[in-house]
């Protein structure tokens, strides 16, 4: 699962730190093959432990599925990784050096983590093209945005992503007019424009047709290797299509880990899903 060559071909520190300037961010170091490392993460809301000593390690280039019943802590885990929620205790590292618990949401986006929400979150008033333009990896400080002007290669990049997410014919339509599945694709396209190292995808195929779901699976499989992907999903056909390791969360910690068949035959997993 480790594909270091594709990840290490950039000079270190070429992104994140110098783009945000005033932000102090470390350099992404994937030399040990681990992209994301969570250790003993605990988050409680008014005494309820949403995450309870959660441990998780995602390899560079890996495609990992996270499943689990409602309230297992999947979304809270994503909140912790992206800086929306601070853990009460535990460590969260991106690569070897970047401590995610010390960074804000925009800083985490800049070091290379992209997130797709459960409900498609796009800019409905902006056109599809503008949605991708805003997401594009670039200097995102105020002054640069005031003076920004799209260069030719940037337009090409947007056009390329538009084709990939099959929205090239919709480029100039307001994003709010897209179908639900198209919105999901647009949000995935926005993630790709950020050129993240790690993609967090919360129920990316919810509301998609079977055909769209299968195409999404193909897209994700093609992205693995170059990117690490963490996919939270309930759709087992989709999970099966993705292959890769499956982690089962339950009551805020890892219940089982392995390939889909192993996990599905695990007695504890069956109990959790079928109820007690």
């Amino acid at each position: 699962m480790i594909l270091e060559t594709t990840l290490d071909d950039r000079p270190e520190g070429s992104d994140g730190a110098d783009q945000m300037g005033h932000f102090v961010t470390g350099e992404l170091d994937l030399s040990h093959g681990v992209a994301l490392y969570l250790e003993d993460i605990t988050v409680s809301f008014d005494g309820f432990k949403a995450l309870n000593n959660l441990n998780l390690a995602i390899d560079a280039g890996e495609l990992r599925c996270i499943i689990g019943p409602n309230g297992a802590g999947k979304t809270t885990m994503m909140d912790v990784i992206t800086g929306k929620t601070r853990p009460d205790s535990g460590k969260a590292y991106f690569g070897q050096t970047i401590d995610l618990t010390r960074l804000t949401e925009p800083e985490i986006a800049h070091v290379g983590i992209g997130r797709k929400f459960q409900k498609p979150t796009i800019f409905e008033q902006h056109t599809v093209f503008e949605n991708l333009e805003l997401a594009m990896k670039t200097d995102k400080r105020v002054w640069k945005s005031l003076m920004a002007w799209l260069a030719g290669d940037e337009r090409d990049k947007i056009a390329e992503t538009l084709r990939l997410i099959r929205l090239d014919k919709e480029a100039d339509r307001p994003a709010g007019l897209l179908s639900h599945g198209q919105k999901q694709w647009l949000e995935i396209g926005m993630l790709l424009m950020q050129e993240p190292k790690l993609l967090l995808l919360d129920e990316p195929v919810a509301g998609m047709t079977d055909d769209e779901t299968m195409r999404t699976a193909e897209l994700f499989v093609s992205l693995a290797g170059k990117h690490s992907l963490v996919v939270v999903e309930h759709d087992m056909a989709f999970v099966e299509k993705l292959g890769g390791l499956v982690t089962v969360l339950h009551e805020g910690s890892v219940l089982a880990e392995g390939d889909l068949a192993t996990v599905q035959n695990d007695q504890r997993v069956i109990e959790v899903y079928l109820g007690r």
């Binding site: 945000m20 992206t82 929306k84 804000t104 949401e105 925009p106 986006a109 800049h110 992209g114 997130r115 929400f117 979150t121 796009i122 800019f123 409905e124 008033q125 902006h126 503008e130 333009e133 805003l134 997401a135 990896k137 995102k140 400080r141 105020v142 945005s145 005031l146 003076m147 920004a148 002007w149 260069a151 030719g152 926005m190 950020q194």
Partner: protein
């Protein structure tokens, strides 16, 4: 290919809008002065001093409305304290106008009358340099900017949003009003500043001075409109509306909303300060009532009536509401506030896009009927 900035500013408005802007400036800078100075008062073509003062005043309000629209219509942040920034600009320039009175005040003293009345022997430290036009102009920009920056930084950093933000801005302007009501604060207490005589040595009541102030206000309004159009068409503007529509998405693609909100907030406050500074010499008075919560709410109503999220809307709104106000307060003074409230309710319920939205709807209908 990078386009030079001048070209980008030119492309901020379309040809029709540039033309309309040219006509507006020609009217304000040529036609009105000629009609005012060259026709006797009983002529049908004469533009009266009353009309010039009224229109000049409303243009200042229109400037405030555009500033409000930038933060509310495009940024999605409803401020109910913009009257504060307007008043701060007005007070900053009012200090200079007070010093220009010189010894022509009722007490014939070097100090402004209200200080003599309070038995003060010398100017407080914050009045130092207030006799300089340059320093006063600097304060007009700097004071609203600093107040807005400090307040905005803490409010936006704490992620205060929506109605909570509106209420805090309302409290801010109210607190400032109470502060300025006190004589000890050093800004003339509840009387504020008035009885101005001169600006830059010229009599403030002479027709020429009035026309220059009127023209300056028109130029400032036009320049603000162009600047705002450029701003909202830039990528900055797109990020701003994106923050309005889906702030968390903006954060997760790597923009820090704090600095974007703070930038537009400070720009908006400075524009209000400029409007206040242009307002005071034309109207001839500034007092703490400008900071009353009601005034700030009225600003929001202008924008809502005209149509927020469009640049021409707030200007139309400011004119419509204020012309109605000057008619109402003469004909049915006791009903004005009821009418204003009614107007706000009707607009909110029936015309969420304001007058501009209504116009667009009518045009679309007409086109639909023609097709």
């Amino acid at each position: 290919m990078r386009k030079p900035l001048t070209l980008r500013i030119l492309s901020a408005l379309d040809t029709k809008s540039w033309l309309a802007l040219g006509v507006f400036l020609a009217l304000a800078l040529l036609v009105v002065p000629v009609l005012h100075l060259n026709f006797p008062e009983d002529s049908a073509f004469h533009v009266s001093t009353y009309a010039i003062t009224l229109i000049g005043k409303i243009m200042c309000y229109a400037l405030v409305a555009v500033a409000m629209d930038l933060i509310w219509g495009y940024g999605g942040i409803l401020s109910l304290g913009h009257g504060l920034f307007f008043a701060l600009g007005g007070y900053a320039f009012g200090m200079y106008l007070m010093r220009q009175i010189g010894r022509d005040g009722s007490y014939g003293a070097d100090l402004p009358d209200f200080m003599v009345f309070l038995d003060w022997k010398e100017l407080p430290w914050f009045w130092l340099g207030s006799d300089s036009f340059g320093w006063a102009s600097f304060l007009v920009l700097a004071v609203p900017a600093v107040v807005a920056f400090v307040f905005g930084y803490f409010a936006f950093r704490s992620r205060i949003k929506g109605v909570y933000f509106s209420i805090i801005t309302q409290a801010l302007t109210y607190a400032a009003m109470l502060l300025f009501f006190r004589n000890e604060t050093g800004f003339g207490g509840n009387n504020g500043f008035t009885d101005f005589k001169r600006v830059l040595g010229y009599s403030i009541t002479s027709p020429e001075t009035r026309l220059v102030l009127f023209g300056l206000t028109a130029v400032m309004l036009a320049a603000t409109l162009v600047f705002a159009a450029w701003l909202v068409k830039s990528k900055f503007g797109r990020v701003l509306t994106a923050i309005r529509d889906a702030e968390s998405r903006v954060m997760f693609i790597g923009y820090n909303p704090l600095w974007y909100k703070l930038t537009i907030w400070v720009i908006s406050a400075v524009l209000c300060g400029i409007a206040g500074a242009l307002y005071v010499p034309q109207v001839g008075i500034i007092n703490p009532s400008e900071m009353s919560p009601g005034n700030s709410i009225e600003i929001a109503i202008w924008v809502a009536v005209g149509g927020r999220g469009t640049l021409i809307g707030p200007i139309i709104g400011a004119f419509v509401v204020n012309l109605a106000k000057s008619w109402f307060t003469v004909s049915f003074p006791e009903y004005w506030l009821f009418f204003l409230g009614l107007l706000f309710i009707v607009v909110t319920l029936m015309l969420p896009q304001g007058l501009v939205g209504l116009w667009k709807k009518l045009m679309a209908k007409k086109e639909g009927a023609a097709a």
